[in-house]
Symmetry: C2
Subunit: 229 residues, 2 copies
């Protein structure tokens, strides 16, 4: 039987590449997507397309209300910063940081992994382009893994759970190159903090700036549909 | 200014006593309750009464769908065990264990703490009566705290977050005695895995058996309303 892995899938470039890596490593994949806030309905659609294209055994969308607590441009009514230079991105903790987001995501992944009997969780964080996010660093992922192995029935009974972060040391260009090498169709993905209702990327927020530069540097054609204006 | 603390509040005996402890320790309290599954609507009502009675600055109810993953009698359609002897409770990991539940709860508490600028989270777990739950042990709480301090802006910037488990070494009788000493009105609380729609406790599940015995041993009158039959 193939080993099962839970893969966090937002439908963007990074998590899509992570799903392709999981498949290449021989896992039967269980893709987990979070719907939080109206803004990201287009992201959930992208995740569905990607999960299907990459042969996930199951794809689960869990709706959570991160806006309950406010505190981030991604979940509250604060403008997303636009048109920052790539060099300014990743200095300090950005306003788009969502409090404890990856911790919440990983805790749900842990619940599903336990029910599935899976010992592997993959998350596509990178400390390179987003050094401003505390929960994208290797020491964070390591602490999560230790916590997970104390939290669960499986961990306590000796079936150690592993949190894989295959992109953690990769730049956006390296992530795109790796995804392309694994046959990812990036036209299915969606990036950016402020897509239009039909899923076109804004082209101007930090995520879009990094993505655009990443495709350039990787020498991969950028299939992103950008919104007008 | 009073220090703020987020307190996980289910509306049962343990979390209610924990809220009273937080108040006694001088915290301004922010009570956080989770609604998951129809079964526990009565629990959310109890939490509201308790938060008000104990002067919480705010009470937030976050609805989450733990049934999305199944795997527990508390969230899936599996019968709750009844009429077990107190001596049999806490041997092995019980079927009422919800995968990663406390991890999910604490991750939301962490998000709220970060937004509030709170450095303290209180959770009323006890390893004594529920030794079967891996996420009720001190080593788990410690690992969570280390993870939290790597996950968040506040932690990274040196404002260390603390996860308090004031009941962790207490028996149910000791918890009840402490709550009573702090003036808790236990008639507001609700315990048990299978309350009736109007909030009467079943009296027969593991939680009810332990609670009933706890009141007896503490020498505190048990105000619990038990359902007929």
């Amino acid at each position: 039987m193939m080993k099962r892995a839970v893969v966090l899938l937002s439908g963007g470039v990074d998590s899509t590449t992570t799903l392709a890596v999981a498949r290449q490593r021989g896992f039967q994949t269980y893709a987990l997507t979070f719907g939080y806030g109206q803004r990201h309905a287009a992201e959930v659609d992208a995740a569905r397309r990607v999960a299907q294209a990459l042969g996930a055994a199951r794809h689960k969308v869990v709706v959570i209300d991160l806006r309950a607590f406010g505190g981030s441009a991604l979940t509250a009514d604060i403008a997303v910063p636009k048109d920052r230079a790539a060099g300014d991105i990743g200095t300090g903790i950005p306003i788009t940081y969502v409090p404890a987001r990856n911790t919440i995501f990983l805790s749900y992944a842990l619940a599903w992994a336990e029910v599935l009997g899976a010992q592997d969780i993959l998350i596509g964080v990178s400390e390179i382009d987003y050094s401003g996010y505390p929960d994208c660093r290797p020491e964070y992922a390591g602490a999560c893994e230790r916590m997970a192995n104390l939290a669960t029935k499986a961990g306590v009974e000796g079936q150690k759970l592993k949190i894989h972060t295959p992109l953690i040391h990769l730049t956006k260009a390296e992530i795109i190159a790796q995804g392309a090498a694994l046959g990812v169709d990036f036209s299915l993905t969606l990036s950016g903090y402020d897509p239009s209702p039909d899923g076109a990327a804004c082209g101007r927020c930090d995520a879009c700036v990094l993505r655009r530069k990443g495709f350039e540097r990787a020498g991969v054609a950028d299939p992103t549909r950008y919104r007008a204006g």
